[in-house]
Subunit: 308 residues, 2 copies
């Protein structure tokens, strides 16, 4: 499908893309750049890339597909660096969790004759690094593409075909709408998970040891979400400020409503709101975006080799 794919950044998503591409033979060659020598060495050792470069520009040179897989905060600098080396006709894409800021930061650097098609696979785990990837991460998950106005339709089509070949369903929307949708389905959930874990850690009257021992009552699921990569998430929040703050406002308003029902003993309101929330779960299961296993996710699953 592609002759030479350059991965710029090789963490959970970059390594999973390599696994998923090699599973189906979608690239003749996969090369890459990573910031640290350790990651470059690991990526070569695991066969994720056939060649590691010490600069993003060297990795991107001669590639017909360049995928930015680093934290979105460094996209602008990378785009500026690789721009002069991009081959005519190449496609530049990314996997960042925000899209408006990516169009803003990367778009201006892309030279004429190179196609820029931002993307975001809605898939992940709480693990980071080149050893955490696996080939099935994108299976039956959605990938959102947000081509700016005037993007070459053939380039968008090739990227759609690539994601479908890696197991995903593809949807196309504007960057602005993407950022609004993800604010509520991903960014705010992560923020409140980070937040409650820290609230719990700083209670004087309940010890850390107690919080951990009795975490099976619900808290442990938040700790899992809150163990995601801090750098990636810092950049997400800095780059989707407006949508996140709007959604947080709604969340806080609704939480005050629940808190007031608790304070005044309004059991009917609590029951009604809890019942409505339960219904949404059925939709998630029916859409194949989760399984019905009743164990709060304590079962088996795909363990990366390094942690098996």
């Amino acid at each position: 499908m592609f002759q030479r794919v350059a991965l710029i950044g090789i963490g959970l998503i970059g390594s999973s893309i390599s696994h998923a591409m090699r599973r189906r033979g979608l690239a003749r060659e996969i090369v890459g750049y990573a910031r640290t020598p350790a990651t470059r060495a690991t990526a070569v050792r695991l066969g994720l890339i056939s060649q590691a470069f010490e600069s993003a520009a060297d990795a991107a040179a001669g590639a017909d597909l360049i995928i930015l897989c680093s934290p979105v905060g460094v996209y602008g600098a990378i785009a500026q660096e690789i721009a002069p080396r991009l081959a005519r006709g190449a496609i530049v894409t990314d996997v960042g969790s925000v899209k408006g800021a990516v169009v803003r930061d990367v778009g201006p650097h892309i030279p004429d004759g190179v196609h820029f098609v931002p993307g975001h696979p809605i898939a992940g785990t709480e693990y980071s690094g080149p050893e955490s990837g696996f080939a099935t991460l994108f299976d039956n998950r959605w990938c959102i593409l947000t081509p700016p106005d005037g993007t070459d339709a053939a380039a968008t089509g090739r990227l759609r075909a690539l994601w479908e070949a890696m197991g995903s369903n593809v949807e196309i929307m504007t960057p602005e709408h993407h950022d609004m949708v993800l604010a509520i389905t991903s960014h705010v959930p992560h923020l409140i998970a980070f937040n409650i874990v820290n609230t719990a850690a700083h209670l004087g009257r309940v010890t850390d040891s107690e919080v951990i021992k009795f975490s099976a009552g619900g808290f442990r699921d938040f700790t899992r979400i809150a163990s995601s990569d801090p750098t990636m998430w810092r950049d997400v929040f800095l780059n989707n400020r407006e949508a996140v703050i709007e959604m947080l406002g709604r969340f806080a308003e609704d939480l005050s409503h629940l808190q007031r029902a608790i304070r005044y003993g309004d059991g009917d309101t609590l029951f009604r709101l809890f019942t409505e929330a339960r219904e949404v779960r059925k939709g998630v299961i029916q859409a194949g975006q989760d399984t019905a296993a009743p164990d709060f996710g304590r079962g088996g699953g795909m363990t990366p080799a390094s942690k098996a």
Copy 2:
């Protein structure tokens, strides 16, 4: 260990207790009461109880261990009803998620010569009903006992031995401390999960279909928690009002702090707080209260027979 155990209420926890007791032969006979004829019939059909009674008092009569497994909101009425039929020397316990209110509602009805030892196994899934239980639910989980002052030490000891035989570790604390610990490790996490699911469901600018399709970004884990039994959770919040409202206040304060860091672009604060949250996760894994499977819980696991 016990001659005749009476389960008052046979949902997820009641049915799991039956499985766990029968796994190790801890009771000569298990009988029970459930509010609906359908649950009674299912419990007998599945062998969870050898005999179903239409009244809690009839079920409790002659039992040497009575376990209240219904929503805590009806404990007071049940205690009043069963009190005259309790055998001298019997132990009454419960599995409710709040303990101060249980001591308040049940304690006064317990006759002299009967031992009242409130308890709370910190274990569960998002499923409800007699078909959702399984024998391993309590394995390596904690069970908290909150015997009021003056409780017979031998009775507390027998209950401790029972929970240990069902696979749990046991800790003893005051009802007030229990309610504070559980407010942060279980009650508030559930409340904010219910809340964000409802916030998402009522957005005009993001459709329900989009929320569900793109839920793999984090939201789906909240929908799982938010699909827990609405009646049980209504009663929890109505009966642990003060601790929940205190913890919600702290949570909201901390969330405002994060929101402010986002608004003013303070990446250092975000990075620091996210890194701290990640550390808590390590403690949960090390304490054996979760597994390190990197699939956000999408793996296999213990599926109840009825849903296999």
